[in-house]
């Protein structure tokens, strides 16, 4: 990985300790990348086991108690340890300061601290695996989470700690974006990935502390029996749901917004056209971030909320579709009459558009009150959020990973295997999750270990799809690993991009630029070449 002749961040200093104690945002980004991908593997294995168990209506490979633990681990690990930190922590950390023309983030030591806090949270959360597990689902609903005799408290502590990592990353990014832009890097010239991370950071800073206090109260509930959420002691279990979703709904946008940023970078570069609706895309991220805070009640239509509250939450939830629709429209309009090239980042961006649009539109179904009463807690919901989270965020992560792979490693990934893996993932994903929409509409509840015999065929198709997905991901891991070690050496700007990270060498030097860059233009002035 460090054969490039010039001095860069990879060969700047040597030894394991120089990585573990690094203050370089690029190295911290890589550490986040490897750690989150490791947890993606762990969470993915749980997903495969869940799907395997659901291959038959009765017991296939595990008993119901084990199954409850499997879906809890899958959810908690994927949400708290993968999707939330992956894009900001890995790609954001690595790319965003370079895009600004900065030498580092505003607080490098805090950045390292957030990585290690994340690791500490992960250690707590996963230690439950080796004890009595956790069986509450990732949502920790009371009163069951108070009564269960599993070691859910370890997962709570882990999520509590990991939350601080998220807060500190968000805080660091906001200050960096405000204070460390290179000369000429005005707000109206900021790359859209930076705008998206800014909006994400605001949500991280404002929402995560509420999760912290919620989880702290729940821990106290288990340790001391304080009763705030316990109906037996006069408390209110629905209050827990309010608190939890006040964080966890905005958290959905912590997961989605950075992905939108990646797509906004990839599409203009691979269409050779200026991005359509730059301001609309930038501001709509803030529209989404704002609305994110006032829609949490749509998780609670059947939890005993007042009808008026349900009505208002339903209306507000549908409003999310407006800024999101603006984005999708702008991306499609950017491609229109462009010179579209189908390299891997663009393939994933297109996959993102397909899957995210399905995920987003089914979100409108779920926002609709009368429909949701039928669909609540069915596989329809499972399919919807996997289309948004995997089809949206993970596809965007893969787009970004391929797009910036030459910059991060200094080497090119192989294009053909990347295309093959992409098709495995796109097809595998749809085969896995599309049948779940039908299962949900037919009334199959989520999180159940067994199901009625008439659901067997669709469940088996879904399980088969999960194997295709697994093949795709394993293949990506193999060719990226090989490419990182001895792929062809990448040039500074293999995609002819205009954002600042492409104006420095691949991999970048320790200080990112030989000289502080001066920004003189908007980063999306692409031209379609006349044939």
């Amino acid at each position: 990985m460090t054969t490039s002749s010039h001095s860069n961040y990879l060969n700047h200093s040597k030894g394991l300790w120089s990585w573990l104690s690094t203050l370089d945002h690029k190295r911290i980004g890589l550490m986040y990348l490897f750690t989150t991908l490791t947890f993606f593997l762990v969470g993915g294995i749980f997903a495969l086991l869940i799907r395997l168990e659901l291959f038959t209506p009765g017991q296939t490979i595990m008993d119901p108690n084990t199954y409850n633990r499997m879906f809890t681990y899958h959810g908690a690990i994927m949400v708290f340890l993968v999707i939330i930190p992956a894009i900001p922590g890995a790609l954001g950390n690595f790319i965003m300061p370079i895009m600004l023309g900065a030498k580092d983030v505003a607080f490098p030591r805090l950045n390292l601290a957030s990585y290690w806090i994340y690791v500490a949270g992960a250690v707590f959360a996963t230690s439950a695996l080796f004890l009595k597990g956790a069986d509450t689902g990732w949502t920790f609903y009371t009163p069951y989470s108070i009564r269960t005799n599993s070691t859910v408290i370890l997962v709570l502590t882990g999520a509590f700690i990991a939350g601080f990592s998220s807060i500190l990353t968000g805080l660091n990014f906001i200050v960096t974006i405000h204070k460390l832009r290179a000369p000429g890097q005005s707000w109206s010239r900021l790359p859209l990935f930076v705008w998206a991370l800014y909006a994400t950071s605001i949500v991280q800073v404002l929402a995560t502390p509420v999760l912290a206090i919620t989880l702290l109260l729940l821990m106290m509930e288990r340790l001391l029996g304080i009763g705030i959420f316990d109906p037996k002691l006069g408390g209110d279990p629905v209050l827990f749901q309010h608190f939890f979703w006040f964080y966890s709904h905005p958290a959905v946008y912590i997961m989605a917004l950075p992905g939108f940023g990646i797509i906004s970078e990839v599409i203009p570069v691979f269409s050779r056209k200026p991005i359509f609706g730059y301001k609309a895309i930038a501001y709509s991220s803030f529209g989404i971030a704002l609305i994110a805070f006032i829609v949490w009640g749509h998780h609670m239509y059947v939890s005993g909320q007042s009808e008026l509250a349900n009505f208002v939450f339903s209306l507000l939830t549908m409003a999310v579709a407006v800024p999101t629709g603006i984005k999708v429209f702008s991306w499609v309009a950017t491609m229109y009459r462009g010179q579209v090239r189908f390299e891997a980042p663009m393939l994933y961006a297109l996959g993102f558009l397909e899957l995210f649009t399905v995920g987003g539109l089914t979100g409108v179904f779920l926002a609709t009150l009368a429909v949701d009463v039928h669909l609540t807690a069915t596989y329809f919901v499972v399919a919807h959020f996997h289309y948004v989270m995997v089809g949206g965020t993970i596809m965007a992560l893969l787009a970004g990973l391929h797009y910036w792979f030459p910059k991060m490693s200094g080497r090119m990934y192989p294009e053909k295997p990347a295309a093959i893996a992409f098709w495995f993932i796109l097809v595998g994903f749809n085969v896995t999750f599309f049948p779940q929409f039908i299962l949900g509409a037919q009334g199959m509840p989520r999180r159940y270990w067994g199901y009625l015999p008439e659901f067997t065929l669709l469940n088996q198709i879904s399980t088969f799809g999960s194997w295709l997905l697994a093949v795709g991901f394993v293949y990506i891991a193999i060719y990226l690993w090989k490419a990182m070690r001895n792929g062809p050496v990448a040039t500074a700007n293999p995609w002819s991009g205009l954002t600042l990270e492409w104006q420095t060498s691949s991999p970048p030097p320790h200080d990112n630029f030989a000289n502080t860059p001066v920004v003189t233009q908007w980063p999306y002035e692409y031209r379609v070449e006349k044939a």
Binding site: D104, H178, K179, A207, A212, I228
Partner: protein
């Protein structure tokens, strides 16, 4: 990275506290202050959860709050309010002295601030032990016979959670002040660089402000 700091701090006439990625001390100071403000916003939201819990339960059981709050000692709460407000003043004087480069004076004010924080905790200790003794405890641990309302344990859950989390912040604040005293004694601060003193000051004023809300809500309002 330590060696890059060394690269930048020697030979260029830079202030030794200037990190390599900032242009000048002023930018760095502004960034640090901005970061601290954001951190305080997260603190407000974290305490906000508890305040929302307070609002919800007080709305549900106003008569319970009216009954349960009477066991809190207003004189002790008031004393602590005065102690903390005074400590905010001494903190401010400590920061201003540091800004002017008056090191001995600054350290002296910071010590007084720690002392006042300790006073606050001592008073809190007496309040807590009285409640422990009377069985005025959160939730399931509650065992007092004089308060008749069946939901009263919830009041003490909120009381201990809110004052407990605040007390934890006071302890953290004391550690932070102690840390800047030590750095100050090592002569690390000057009118050009006193960022940590200023930021710990921000934090300490926030801790006071939380108490300014807690005191009337818990001890006085119902």
């Amino acid at each position: 990275m330590s060696n890059s700091h060394a690269d930048n701090s020697h030979g260029h006439g830079h202030h030794p506290a200037l990190a390599h990625h900032f242009n000048n001390m002023e930018d760095q100071f502004e960034a640090a202050k901005f970061g601290m403000w954001l951190f305080l916003v997260t603190e407000v939201l974290m305490f906000g959860g508890l305040f929302i819990g307070y609002i919800v339960f007080r709305g549900l059981y106003p008569e319970m709050f009216a009954e349960a709050h009477k066991v809190l000692s207003v004189p002790m709460g008031a004393l602590n309010t005065i102690v903390l407000i005074t400590s905010s003043l001494t903190m401010l004087l400590g920061v201003t002295s540091a800004q002017r480069g008056e090191r001995t004076k600054s350290v002296r004010f910071l010590w007084v601030t720690i002392l006042l924080a300790a006073c606050f905790l001592v008073v809190k200790y007496f309040e807590y032990s009285h409640k422990f003794h009377e069985g005025l405890l959160p939730g399931a641990l509650f065992h007092n016979e004089h308060i008749t309302h069946p939901k009263a344990p919830l009041f003490f859950s909120l009381y201990f959670m809110m004052t407990g989390l605040h007390g934890f912040h006071v302890v953290v604040g004391m550690c932070l002040i102690f840390w800047i005293i030590r750095r100050s004694k090592r002569n690390e601060f000057s009118p050009e660089f006193y960022t940590p003193v200023e930021l710990v000051g921000f934090y300490w004023h926030f801790v006071d402000l939380v108490w300014i809300y807690l005191f009337p809500l818990m001890y006085l309002v119902p």
